[in-house]
């Protein structure tokens, strides 16, 4: 009977109940959409950034990140490889040897970043092959380079031309060599596009007289959510000689941007929740005021205040629950659709995004946690507001309530 009473009370003023439910449903819809978009865009941004070069996690010799010189490189050893291999959450490990050198052709010279890498593994993580503009992708056994487009045009280089690299090798040994250009790469980031030269790892180690030395190992992982655990485990297993850095530590400006934008979400959703709160409060205030006589009568005939409070709380929860349910039903297909077919930017804005190495798309994330969290927040707000009728009933005097 109590459940029947709750249900029927909801529909005493069906229009008001429907409007309240709709306001809750739309608030849940907007909150879910907003959070799904935010997470989707950030996940995509992170995927772009880490997938372009750094990876989610990097292993360095301790002190390398502060002073990025070859003398802070480390020896690629079996123990290290085993630690990486034994972690099932690590999907890719790209060994690299990176240093700044001078690149020249004829009378033109330019500073560049030489990246010695495992060609196959590099392609697995950063899809380097897909960035080839001309020429062919290099192999591990090759002694040929891939040059970024900006650098190649500056030095007027084409495929099959020869580039001269000159710099300081391991322990200050002079390094000099000439390499045939196997391909020209088009890299989205202007900084990378103007300065990157890729050479197979073995050839790089030979060029820099740094046999078996590495400056970093970039890691691709199974799920970005596991990153912190992976970093923690690696630190524990690899000891003090290495620094294990997450992409947030390596690119704090992007991490801070995401963090700052997260705060703006809290502000917007806070405003949204405030609107829901006031809407719901208005409804409960009306429901409570117009039924004051009835409450008085129920208390007079022998209903306990606790039972009356249960009915009122039940009404609040029911109206909120239905509103949330409608909100989820409305948002779920929309979030899935926008995940499958993300909003695509076009024109100049898209070009600007792509210039910085980001896909010009705004996808949503389909994550049950978003639906659950947003629903719970709205439910908690409703429970909090639902305290008002309970407070009202606890102070209700049947005689005063029944006075007209």
């Amino acid at each position: 009977m109590i459940a029947k009473l709750i249900w029927r009370n909801l529909w005493r003023n069906s229009r008001r109940t429907l409007i309240t439910m709709a306001s809750i449903a739309f608030a849940v819809l907007f909150a879910i959409l907003m959070k799904s978009f935010q997470d989707g865009v950030f996940n995509n941004l992170i995927k772009n950034v880490v997938g372009y070069y750094t990876g989610y996690v990097q292993i360095h010799q301790k002190g390398y990140w502060e002073e990025q010189v070859l003398d802070n490189s480390f020896t690629n050893n079996t123990a290290l490889s085993n630690v990486i291999k034994q972690n099932p959450q690590i999907k890719n490990a790209i060994p690299r040897l990176e240093t700044f050198v001078l690149a020249s052709k004829g009378n033109t010279t330019k500073g560049c970043l030489l990246v010695g890498t495992d060609t196959e593994k590099e392609n697995e993580l950063t899809h380097l092959k897909s960035k080839l503009k001309s020429g062919n992708y290099f192999q591990n056994k090759d002694n040929e380079v891939l040059v970024a487009e900006g650098l190649s045009s500056r030095l007027n280089l084409n495929v099959s031309d020869t580039i001269v690299l000159f710099g300081q090798g391991y322990h200050g040994i002079m390094a000099a060599g000439k390499y045939r250009i196997k391909g020209i790469l088009s890299l989205a980031s202007p900084a990378m596009n103007n300065s990157f030269v890729y050479l197979p790892l073995k050839a790089t180690q030979s060029f820099l007289s740094a046999e078996n030395q590495l400056t970093s190992i970039s890691l691709g992982i199974d799920n970005p959510k596991n990153m912190d655990v992976i970093v923690k485990n690696m630190r524990k297993k690899m000891g003090e000689d290495y620094e294990i850095m997450s992409w947030q530590k390596m690119m704090p400006e992007i991490a801070n941007h995401i963090k700052a934008d997260g705060y703006s979400f809290y502000v917007f959703s806070g405003i949204l929740y405030l609107i829901i709160g006031f809407g719901l409060f208005g409804t409960l205030l009306m429901m409570t005021t117009e039924r004051k006589y009835e409450f008085g009568m129920l208390l007079a005939i022998g209903m306990k205040k606790s039972k009356l409070a249960t009915i009122l709380l039940g009404e609040t929860i029911m109206i909120t629950f239905l509103g949330i349910l409608f909100g989820i039903v409305l948002s779920l297909p929309l979030v899935i659709y926008l995940n499958q077919k993300p909003v695509k930017l076009t024109g100049e804005i898209a070009k600007t995004y792509e210039q910085f190495g980001f896909e010009a798309i705004f996808p949503t994330t389909v994550d049950s946690a978003i639906f659950i969290n947003q629903s719970l927040i709205v439910l908690i707000i409703a429970m909090f507001i639902g305290m008002y009728p309970l407070w009202h009933v606890s102070n209700l005097n049947p005689i005063k309530a029944m006075k007209k």
Partner: protein, 239 residues
């Protein structure tokens, strides 16, 4: 020997005690026996409703106390008082007595649910009461679908459902037309005669007063008369 159901001792209710005291009730003594059909009359502000509220345990007296079947209800507080009211006193108010979202049957059954009575007993009692008030055909009607008189009859049935010691009715015919008022009185008198149900009600309505077996007159919070209508009056109004 007659059994005293309601025993009010030196009941007083004083408002604005700190400034100029206003006596809503002034040292009222009242004894109601089982099976009485008592009307409390008096002008507006004489203390009729206040007296009913005291007897019903809805209001606390400033002085004195009320005993119902030897239980001092003035001393009861909180849930004990609510439980006592639920199990011992039936209420019929002037209007808006029923829960609007429940049918006539559910309204009567509701109060027995509060008593945690088993389903079979509830259903049997509801059927019995609906028959007694002559509304078997309105079982599934909601209050809005019933006339004022029918609503009051359902309210009487609801008040009777928990088998209380007595029924308190505050101006039960005030919002009814004469036919509906007569019908309601017929039902109440029938229950009084056949089931020995005790009724105490406040009223302005002369027809109700004339059909009461005992009439208590209140003025300025005091009982100024406690009489029975004359035999001739009874013969005129009794059916």
């Amino acid at each position: 020997m007659k059994e005293t159901v309601i025993d009010a001792h030196n009941l007083s209710k004083i408002y604005d005690e700190k400034t100029i005291p206003v006596y809503a009730l002034n040292n009222v003594h009242l004894h109601i026996q089982r099976g009485e059909f008592t009307a409390i009359k008096g002008p507006s502000g004489s203390g009729k409703t206040t007296l009913l509220n005291m007897i019903g345990g809805l209001d606390n007296p400033s002085g004195g106390f009320v005993e119902i079947n030897d239980t001092n209800i003035t001393a009861l507080k909180g849930n004990r008082l609510i439980d006592f009211r639920l199990n011992n006193i039936g209420f019929v108010f002037q209007s808006y007595n029923l829960i609007p979202v429940l049918t006539a049957k559910e309204n009567i059954e509701f109060i027995m649910l509060l008593q945690n009575r088993p389903k079979e007993e509830r259903e049997k009692r509801v059927a019995e009461l609906l028959k007694q008030i002559g509304m078997e055909d309105k079982v599934d009607k909601r209050p809005v679908e019933l006339s004022g008189g029918q609503q009051q009859r359902v309210a009487v049935a609801r008040a009777l459902a928990p088998k209380p010691q007595f029924i308190l009715a505050d101006e039960p015919t005030a919002n009814l037309d004469s036919i509906a008022a007569e019908n309601l009185l017929d039902v109440m008198l029938k229950l009084n005669k056949e089931e020995n149900i005790t009724f105490v009600f406040s009223t302005h309505d002369q027809r109700v007063i004339n059909r009461a077996r005992r009439v208590i007159t209140l003025e300025d919070g005091k009982i100024v008369a406690d009489t029975a209508p004359t035999k001739i009056e009874h013969l005129l109004y009794e059916k």
